[in-house]
């Protein structure tokens, strides 16, 4: 499984590397060509895999110590001198400990700081709930000027890290701890920020998801097709903001049923972003949000938590079956056969 990580077309095996490791390596490749790129971290150079960057560019990686306010304030300052800083720490520290600096110093001033936040969602399950982060979409998408992206795996992380250089302003990229299996077999697909990717087609229901939900939903769709005869479309909504409204409108018209799946509180996240588009466009469809149901997540290894919260393929398939019980009225827009 090859992933193209940068401008010199070096390949790595994405199935043996975490998304954050691919991030660090991709950034190292990019920085060979683009002298504006620097990296900052708050004593998490190893954990965020920026050590893959600093190994190549030791003079371009700055550790500010355990000090997230200073991390994001400093990133704003460096951006103001013409650099493009990539600032990395755990998602929970980024969006809550450094949240005001991200809002006021970076987003308000529209500075090109790229925040690559790792260990998001419940991916660091055994670290305990202090280190879970199921609030970041809600926080980041409500900050003006901010682009919010959640790649599905390492391959997509590599594409996102490169694509966010084209955004004139700040970007928040959320990745997990990174031991999740990859969903993409190779880099041979079109990736565009703000444009959702259809992973598989179907006619009964659309799952709109992101991050780890993408692979699990694709697997759920296979199971549902084989065992239940339910035809499920899966849409990878990697960009939470700006949301791809056209893809949502298309899904509502085509399948009349939408399930959102996210490793995030169902309050304020992907589900709410999709719901807004449905409501504001007066779309008639059955709709459910699936994710962490407004609670502090429990402790455990990530795989166990995905199962507990029904964010694995089996759990998602159950949620699809529930939503299929809701009858939807036919109309002229419905493309169901």
């Amino acid at each position: 499984m090859a992933v193209n990580t940068g401008t010199n077309w070096t390949c790595y095996d994405s199935s043996t590397m975490t998304a954050r490791e691919i991030y660090g390596r991709t950034l190292a490749e990019m920085a060979k060509e683009d002298k504006r790129i620097v990296a900052l971290t708050a004593d998490l150079e190893k954990s965020t895999a920026l050590n893959k960057f600093s190994a190549v560019h030791p003079d371009r990686c700055f550790n500010v110590g355990i000090a997230e306010q200073n991390l994001f304030g400093a990133a704003a300052g460096m951006a103001a001198t013409g650099l493009v800083p990539f600032a990395s720490t755990f998602a929970i520290m980024a969006c809550l400990r450094g949240g005001e600096q991200i809002r006021t110093d970076i987003a308000y001033q529209k500075l090109p700081v790229k925040i690559i936040a790792t260990h998001a969602g419940i991916s660091f399950g055994h670290a305990g709930t202090t280190h879970h982060c199921t609030e970041d979409f809600a926080i980041m998408r409500s900050i003006a000027n901010m682009t919010v992206i959640c790649p599905a795996d390492g391959i997509e992380t590599s594409k996102v890290v490169r694509a966010c250089m084209d955004i004139d302003g700040p970007v928040y990229v959320r990745i997990g701890r990174g031991f999740e299996p990859p969903v993409y077999e190779n880099e041979d697909y079109e990736f565009q920020i703000g444009k959702a990717t259809t992973m598989c087609d179907g006619t009964d229901l659309t799952i709109i998801t992101c991050g780890i939900g993408v692979l699990q939903s694709v697997n759920a769709a296979k199971t549902l097709a084989e065992r239940d005869g339910i035809s499920v479309r899966v849409v990878n909504m990697h960009t939470i903001k700006p949301i791809d409204a056209d893809a949502i409108i298309y899904a509502a018209n085509k399948t009349k049923r939408i399930l959102t799946v996210e490793e995030h509180n169902v309050v304020g996240g992907l589900g709410d972003a999709v719901a807004s588009v449905i409501a504001e466009n007066q779309l008639k469809c059955a709709f459910k949000k699936h994710g962490i149901m407004d609670e502090f997540s429990v402790i455990g290894y990530a795989e166990d938590l995905y199962s507990y919260y029904k964010l694995d393929a089996n759990g998602i398939a159950d949620k699809v079956r529930e939503l299929m019980k809701i009858e939807v009225a036919e109309d002229e827009d419905w493309e169901d056969e």
């Binding site: 306010q69 304030g73 400093a74 460096m78 951006a79 001198t81």
Partner: protein, 280 residues
Amino acid sequence: MAIDTSKLKELKQTAKDLRLTVIDVMKWSGGAHVGGSLSCMDIMTALYFNYLKVDPKNPQWEGRDRFILSKGHCAAGYIPVLAKKGYFPEEELKSFNHFGSPFAMHPDKNKVVGCDASAGSLGHGLPIAFGMGLGFKFQNMDNKVVVLTGDGELQEGSNWEAFMAINHYKLTNVITIVDRNGCQIDGTTEQVMALEPLNEKLAAFGFDVIEIDGNDMQQVCDALDKAWAKKEGDKPALILAKTIKGKGVDFMENQVPYHYCSGDTEVCEKAKASIMNMEV
């Protein structure tokens, strides 16, 4: 390079004129953080009219020095300085705080020409200044970064994160100035959350602390000369400027309630009369 007598007199006169404008802004805007704007006026005047390498005709010039007013609530003092420097007509100050104005209680870098950092939430200026200093050093650029903080503001922990970092990275291109006027909204700093012994604390973080009377233009210039002369290998400079909150308006001086004032015409007239009596 010691400052000559005529330049000194000119700076003092400019600071006095600007203090009068602060009172006008207080009237036009319906209220302003007048105490802190007056306490740091001598420092901002010296910076903009004798030290900072800036070009009002080319506000985004890459080679410019940067100034961050971390005590952003004192925009009523800072924005008149930018107007007098020539970034925009002084006449525009009359719009202060009004609908659609670029000028408000706290400065916005994307609206105020010449402003390098939006500020107002306290404890943000130093980390930004640290990042700028690091960015300039990394790119071998010789721009200076000057950050002016309040003293009450130092109760925010983020400042101390930046103090550590400025010294860890030995950033002599960053010049920190603390406006030590001793007052904050709810009382004196020592009543609300004691900062002393501040000089020793800052020195312990690694700074060359230059303690001065921040309302004495000669001392301000001497301190800035020292700070500007810092080079690779020196300790970063921090000017601990002891000032008087409300400086120049006799009935406001060292008076906690004048942190903010929505002065009516009578108060403004009295304040201006007092400033007119300042010696230059």
